[in-house]
Symmetry: C2
Subunit: 216 residues, 2 copies
């Protein structure tokens, strides 16, 4: 229906877009071989992570931890390169090249098939510093703004909110995870009756500018 | 009903527990005065933040940014000290001293009043590195485990999940924010029909151990 939000997992989008590749495609670099040797990981998998990275934010070669900035500007473990839920062994699944465009295609298809004006969020599962446990966040949006900007509005006691910008897209992605789970490979959740910031936006709005990033 | 989740905002809990204090209570230290002078903040407010902090993780004295570790181990801006939604000017609202205990009291009251065995999440609004926009996260839980541990389980293609621990409590808090908003001072949301990890847990499980923290 108009106003629904479709949250679609990165995994099914990446598969549909052919972002699944055999590990044999990756000839490991010297760095990849060294990290693999110290951590026990597959050097081809490490190579895939390095190729998807614009920047290594932190690494622990012994534990095999690579926190990377992706080409999109997302910071996450292994640059979003994933082995689970890909049905075939010896393959890796990469993030969509342009997740906003992926979301737009789903939105257009929903419009055509159901005549409904929906918002679409592409979700992935990211860790975060300081807090244990992963949550689903948005990596692409269409038909909505990802951020709800309350600056300048006044709360119930008349206090002007000065810094409150909520990442609604991330909260929608997290809410969807609650009903999708991790084992049943549910690829999409529908959220109905939930307010979100109308308009057109891009997930680039959620990528924090380097000049405002205290954790480079 | 049994199995419902009540998400209660930190603000209403802190008010109910008397964690609202006049700024006049705070005699600014030299550091607080200096940060206030460079950032244009109220030195008493800065002092309140410093007193609630166990550790300053990052600071930018010109922009007045203090990313602090609280006594509970949470890392957030201003150690959770807040000025908005407190009705009276010249006051600050501090985090609950023991948010798990706060959640337990709400849980016990729900049991007594409605005969229902509910889970309770105390939520607050935190920023995060790299991603712009705030999301609601859990700062206290009762009647549930905050983390859903999938390690050792197998996904739909038989792949054994090795690292997947979801912070369900944080996703519940974020989902609740979607319907509470920031302006109407809605203090509680009820989530019905959503699976969550049964049992007893503590938000301490979500605080990442320093030895596993690459972003100290």
């Amino acid at each position: 229906m108009d106003g629904d939000v479709l949250v679609v997992t990165q995994k099914v989008v990446s598969k549909a877009e052919g972002q699944v590749f055999s590990l044999d495609r990756y000839e490991p670099s010297e760095l990849a071989r060294r990290i693999a040797a110290s951590s026990g990981k597959d050097p081809r998998h490490v190579e895939a992570v390095l190729r998807e990275s614009r920047r290594i934010v932190r690494m622990d070669p012994v534990r095999g931890i690579l926190i990377c900035e992706t080409m999109h500007g997302f910071v996450c473990a292994n640059a979003g390169v994933d082995e689970s839920n890909t049905a075939k062994r010896e393959v890796v699944c990469l993030l969509p090249v342009d997740p906003d465009a992926s979301a737009s295609r789903v939105r257009d298809a929903a419009k055509e098939r159901y005549g409904a004006d929906v918002a679409v969020v592409i979700s992935d599962t990211f860790g975060r510093p300081w807090r244990f446990g992963l949550t689903n966040v948005a990596i692409g949006v269409a038909g909505m703004k990802p951020l709800w900007d309350y600056r300048g509005e006044r709360d119930a006691s008349g206090y002007e909110l000065r810094a409150t910008i909520i990442s609604t897209a991330d909260e929608l992605a997290g809410a969807a995870e609650l009903v999708m789970g991790k084992l049943d490979a549910v690829p999409v959740a529908l959220i109905r009756g939930c307010p979100y910031p109308k308009g057109e936006g891009s997930i680039r709005e959620v990528v924090r500018d380097a000049s405002l990033d205290l954790f480079r």
